[in-house]
């Protein structure tokens, strides 16, 4: 049994601090005062019914959605409206989307090299070397010169993971990384994420893959209606959830 790593109340340097986060879309409260801390190396699985705010929460962490009030600190950098803070945080936070969002006009290799060269200032040979190494890690290096549309969904998502890793982020955010995939491709992507978790990457993953959550999560956070309803270690959460809402949700996704 691997050692669970969760944030202790006294941890002075959590990787992410979210405090009383509020996000509205018009009159709809997507997040109504969410607080969450993520320790270095911690793996959190966020789950909950659709519209519960879990995607919005992780999209606020790298400022793809702008929060209305509350506080976000990533690796000691407070997220303000200043472009510099936003970019500093974004370059430390990797993100993987449900729909991959690879750049269709660039080859797999170029997809992985663009940001390290433009943002990190890497020279082409170094960016190339890093991209090849990470594509090898996600076992897709033999497709490096193909274009995204020539790959299967599972392959595309693994390229997207490699692309994010090429920035050498300190934390990875996954926004339903397997929801858009055909069932037979879910496994290859989850395996890639599990390996990443075993390497000690800090991650927050929005997913309904409960087997995956059991395997890697240090903590499962259950959200509903824009709030965190319940959290706990995965074995407890899946076996005996405390709240009725979590019970109802688990019943729905298991059957």
């Amino acid at each position: 049994m691997q050692q669970r790593r969760t944030v202790s109340p006294t941890d002075p340097f959590p990787m992410v601090i979210v405090e009383r986060l509020v996000k509205r879309f018009g009159s709809f409260n997507a997040l109504s005062g969410v607080s969450l801390k993520v320790a270095k190396g911690e793996k959190i699985v966020l789950c909950g019914p659709s519209g519960s705010g879990k995607s919005t929460l992780i999209r606020c962490i790298n400022h793809i959605e702008k929060h209305d009030s509350g506080r976000i600190v990533v690796d000691g950098i407070e997220l303000t409206d200043r472009i510099r803070d936003i970019n500093n945080i974004r370059s430390e936070v990797g993100m993987v989307f449900q729909s991959f969002n690879l750049f269709p006009h660039l080859s797999v290799l170029e997809n992985c090299m663009l940001a390290p060269m433009k943002v990190r200032g890497l020279a082409e040979p170094e960016a190339h070397e890093r991209a090849v190494a990470l594509l090898r890690k996600v076992r897709i290096h033999d497709q490096a010169h193909k274009y995204p549309t020539q790959l299967s969904g599972g392959q595309q998502q693994r390229v997207a993971i490699a692309r994010a890793l090429c920035m050498q982020p300190k934390i990875m955010l996954f926004d339903e990384p397997t929801s858009a995939l055909d069932p037979e491709m879910v496994k290859e992507v989850l395996e890639t994420i599990v390996e990443l978790a075993q390497d000690g990457m800090t991650m927050v993953c929005v997913t309904h893959e409960m087997g995956f959550a059991r395997e890697v999560a240090d903590r499962v956070v259950f959200m509903d209606l824009g709030s965190i309803v319940e959290e706990g270690d995965p074995s407890t959460f899946f076996r005996a959830p405390n709240t009725d809402r979590a019970k109802a949700f688990l019943n729905r996704i298991i059957h």
Binding site: S91, P104, A115, A164
Partner: protein, 231 residues
């Protein structure tokens, strides 16, 4: 009626050639200026810069509602007067027919290209912008390396159509007494009384050049086919 005699076309070839070169260079210059300004105009509207985008919208609407031939006239006759007033002594400052043609075509085409690119920008998937944000790419790099290349690829057939129309529209420079391919042909046709031969020959030249341009773009699209295929 005389039978067709195409020897006149061969004799007239040097003159036709110079006309063709003028048409081509005017097309190339107007394409470059038009695409550059058009992209700029489209971006100004895309970013919804308050005052600027209002100005650009008005400019595009104005240019698109006036026939090119009228714009050429105005530019040729009015700009010298305006320049004269600006310079203070009130005497018109002639711009010259060639400059008028190049500047007007560039500015006019910019309005059309900007509409094409504006629509192309709207068609780019939102996820592409989000991926760039997540990778911390600057706005400049986002547009330079990710968004605009996709727009140009998707829009290339429409950009090509517009450029072929531009190439054919260069014949309008006859109102400025400039001689393009069609102008050269019609002068010689009337001089020698060989209208059918000349106009047939010129039509073939237009046909060849337009087809070659289509082929060129088709080959480019084939080369990058995977790229714009689907998102």
């Amino acid at each position: 009626m005389n039978s067709l005699d195409f020897s006149i076309v061969l004799q007239a070839w040097p003159y036709l050639w110079s006309g063709l070169l003028f048409s081509l260079s005017l097309t190339a210059a107007a394409f470059l200026v038009g695409m550059f300004l058009g992209t700029l105009f489209a971006l100004v509207q895309h970013f919804e810069l308050r005052v600027l985008s209002q100005l650009v919208r008005s400019y595009v609407a104005l240019m698109r509602s006036i026939p090119l031939i009228l714009v050429l006239f105005w530019f040729f006759f009015l700009v010298p007067i305006v320049l004269g007033h600006l310079s203070g002594n009130g005497r018109p400052v002639p711009v010259g027919a060639t400059y008028t043609a190049f500047i007007t075509f560039g500015l006019f085409e910019a309005a059309y290209y900007s509409e094409i690119i504006r629509v192309g920008l709207r068609a780019v998937n939102k996820g592409q912008f989000e991926a760039c944000q997540a990778l911390a790419l600057s706005t400049f790099d986002t547009y330079r390396h990710v968004i605009l290349p996709q727009v140009f690829r998707v829009a290339s057939p429409i950009i090509l159509s517009q450029t072929i129309i531009l190439f054919q529209d260069t014949s309008l420079v006859y109102v400025l007494s400039l001689t393009d391919l069609l102008g050269a042909a019609s002068k010689l046709a009337q001089l020698h009384g060989r209208l059918v031969e000349m106009y047939l020959a010129v039509a073939v030249v237009y046909l060849i050049i337009s087809c070659a341009a289509s082929q060129f773009v088709a080959s480019l699209r084939k080369k990058y086919a995977i790229a714009g295929a689907r998102r």
